[in-house]
């Protein structure tokens, strides 16, 4: 680092060691103050809207009440309730199953589209815009669009099914189909985002390596597996972490499409948290579930970092 103190450069030769140390210390203190001034607004937001809420969550997991009456300390009751609550377990399972379907699907589709976009000589700009349009929509809008595209009576998909001679499929009213359908809708919405992310990664790759690999006679698939995938590791690292954080928070499309039904087959953790606050007013329970979600995402992110990060 080349931090040069304007006060020192001219007179450096004539300073005594003590004076030199004193000035250096003063300089460091000033830099530290400046740095914290630059970080200030973010640190305030961090404390008020992240740190305090997380601490509040932790405290609330040991308490009850708080909306109408005063809060009471109840020890581990909330934790026991949360772990023995079958719907809590269902909501966790649904969220995990949803993520396990949606994330790989969206990554594979987006990667294929990004490779295709990277390969074509012209016409990329309008294609990129078209692919990106679904990503620009709020999840609830995507949800409503698919409510009619998939509608059992007049949805276009079911016209096709009937035309082919099948029975109409009730995508969102079937306990086994509802969650995959929601995952599919989120894949439709997310594909544009990840395509652009992967395309940016592909665009930044060094071309020379590919020339060398081709001269060595490596085929397209081999080049992809041996060169592209490893070189895109930083992009994947970001993608996996970001997608995990976002998808484990599944709420909007469930709220708009099924409200957790049919028979709780699409209740997500976030939906259950929302219900525990606004329908049951059970803060302790909701806080415990929330805290579990925070810990889970933190641990998963840590694990992914450990597995995916460059070993430098």
């Amino acid at each position: 680092m080349t931090h040069i103190d304007p006060g020192l450069t001219g007179a450096q030769m004539t300073l005594s060691p003590e004076e030199h140390r004193r000035l250096a210390k003063r300089y460091r203190r000033r830099t530290t103050l400046t740095a914290y001034a630059f970080l200030g607004p973010n640190l305030v937001a961090f404390v008020v809207f992240l740190l305090i809420p997380v601490v509040w969550l932790l405290v609330s997991t040991f308490r009850t009440g708080g909306v109408l009456g005063p809060a009471e300390f109840v020890g581990l009751d909330n934790w026991r309730d949360t772990f023995s609550d079958p719907l809590a377990r269902t909501s966790i399972r649904n969220t995990v199953v949803y993520s396990a379907m949606a994330i790989p699907a969206v990554f594979i589709i987006a990667m294929i589209l990004a490779l295709a976009l990277h390969a074509i000589p012209r016409g990329g700009a309008p294609i990129r815009v078209a692919l990106y349009l679904p990503t620009l929509q709020p999840a609830v809008v995507a949800a409503f669009i698919f409510t009619f595209v998939l509608h059992p009576d007049f949805g276009v998909i079911n016209y096709a099914v009937r035309w082919l001679g099948g029975d109409p499929i009730n995508f969102l009213g079937d306990t086994t189909l509802a969650l995959p359908t929601i995952a599919g809708i989120e894949v439709w919405r997310g594909t544009g985002f990840w395509t652009m992310m992967f395309l940016a990664g592909l665009t930044a790759l060094p071309g020379e390596l590919y020339h060398a690999a081709e001269l060595d006679g490596a085929g397209a698939i081999r080049r992809f597996i041996r060169l592209t995938l490893p070189l895109l590791r930083p992009t994947f690292y970001f993608a996996v972490i970001f997608a995990t954080i976002v998808n484990l928070q599944l709420f909007d499309s469930v709220f708009a499409l099924t409200d957790g039904g049919p028979v709780n087959s699409t209740v997500s953790v976030s939906l259950y948290i929302y219900r525990s606050l606004f329908l049951f007013g059970d803060i302790g329970f909701g806080a415990t579930l929330s805290f579990l979600l925070v810990v889970t995402v933190l641990l998963l992110t840590g694990l992914q970092t450990y597995l995916l990060r460059d070993s430098k």
Binding site: P41, P53, L115, A130, Q137, P138, I145, Y210
Partner: protein, 298 residues
């Protein structure tokens, strides 16, 4: 991680002209054709549902259920849009969404670029600790914080205000790391020479750093704006007053209040898609060729 100008390919004559110069990958004709086919399918799947919405929004709800479905409504029915603008505070929702998203984006770009500068270029006590704390908090799921956030915002007396929508998103630390990854690439000599000329850190930030990272900030800005434009769960909770609500929540209310009026709902979705699409078209060039994934690299 931005695209570097690939001048070296000019010397490669045949190879560069056969393939694309962008990253120097030579392409066979069949690979290019296959790519176009794949992209055509992708675009069709991305756009077809929108055509459905456009078509439905110009139909009277009674003609929706005709079989087979007619894609082109005849006659064109404007009633859904009339009802949307006359019976619902749709213009107000649009304004609220643009205002809140714009404010969050502007404030975040400002704060994140300052914080990113501090983390990228300043040596100060506690730097590693602050960076680690902020990096950890990237992984805190916001929807797990809705309950405490509700009480914090209520305690501050901000429920049902624009502040309730603008302030909490500022705590999302991802942008700091994106900004830092843009700033790390600026050569130290640039700031050092400015510092020798007696420039303060704030002057260096404003006069040297900000102009240099502008392309990155456009991308970060679009990203922030989009996240904000599509946010749902927090506005749903923080604002009860319909006149202060954002588009996403307002539109979802069209459904429950008026039992599946598909025509109206489609009109609302179409009208809601227009502002964000326009914003995206304005900045899309910058958006594509910048890689945000550098944010999480040490």
């Amino acid at each position: 991680m931005t695209a570097m100008p690939t001048t070296e390919h000019k010397t490669r004559g045949t190879e560069a002209s056969k393939g694309r110069a962008r990253s120097g990958l030579p392409r066979s004709r069949s690979a290019v054709s296959l790519s176009y086919v794949v992209l055509f399918v992708g675009v069709a799947i991305a756009l077809a549902p929108f055509l459905y919405v456009v078509s439905t929004s110009f139909k009277e709800s009674t003609s929706l259920f005709s079989y087979p479905p007619d894609w082109i409504p005849s006659p064109i029915f404007w009633g859904n849009f009339e009802s949307l603008f006359a019976d619902h505070p749709f213009v107000q929702w649009t304004f609220n969404t643009l205002f809140v998203s714009g404010a969050v984006t502007a404030l975040k770009l400002w704060f994140d670029s300052m914080a990113g500068y501090a983390l990228a270029k300043m040596e100060f006590a506690g730097r590693r600790g602050v960076a680690l704390l902020l990096l950890l908090s990237v992984a805190i799921p916001i929807s797990a914080l809705i309950i405490p956030m509700f009480f914090v915002v209520r305690y501050l007396g901000l429920l049902n205000t624009y502040w309730a929508l603008i302030l909490p998103p500022l705590a999302n630390p991802l942008g700091i790391f994106m900004a830092r990854s843009f700033i790390v690439g600026i050569p130290d000599d640039l700031e050092a020479s400015a510092r020798l000329d007696g420039a303060s850190e704030f002057t260096i930030y404003r006069k040297i750093v900000l102009p240099l990272i502008r392309p990155g900030l456009v991308v970060l800005g679009m990203f922030t704006f989009m996240l904000q434009y599509t946010s749902f769960i927090w506005p749903l909770i923080a604002v009860q007053d319909s006149d202060r609500q954002v588009l996403a929540v307002g539109i979802s209310g069209l459904q429950s209040a008026f039992l599946q009026d598909w025509g109206l709902l489609s009109a609302g979705m179409l009208a809601a898609a227009i502002p964000i699409t326009v914003v995206f078209l304005l900045v899309q060039r910058a958006f594509v060729f910048n890689d945000l994934s550098g944010a999480l690299k040490e």
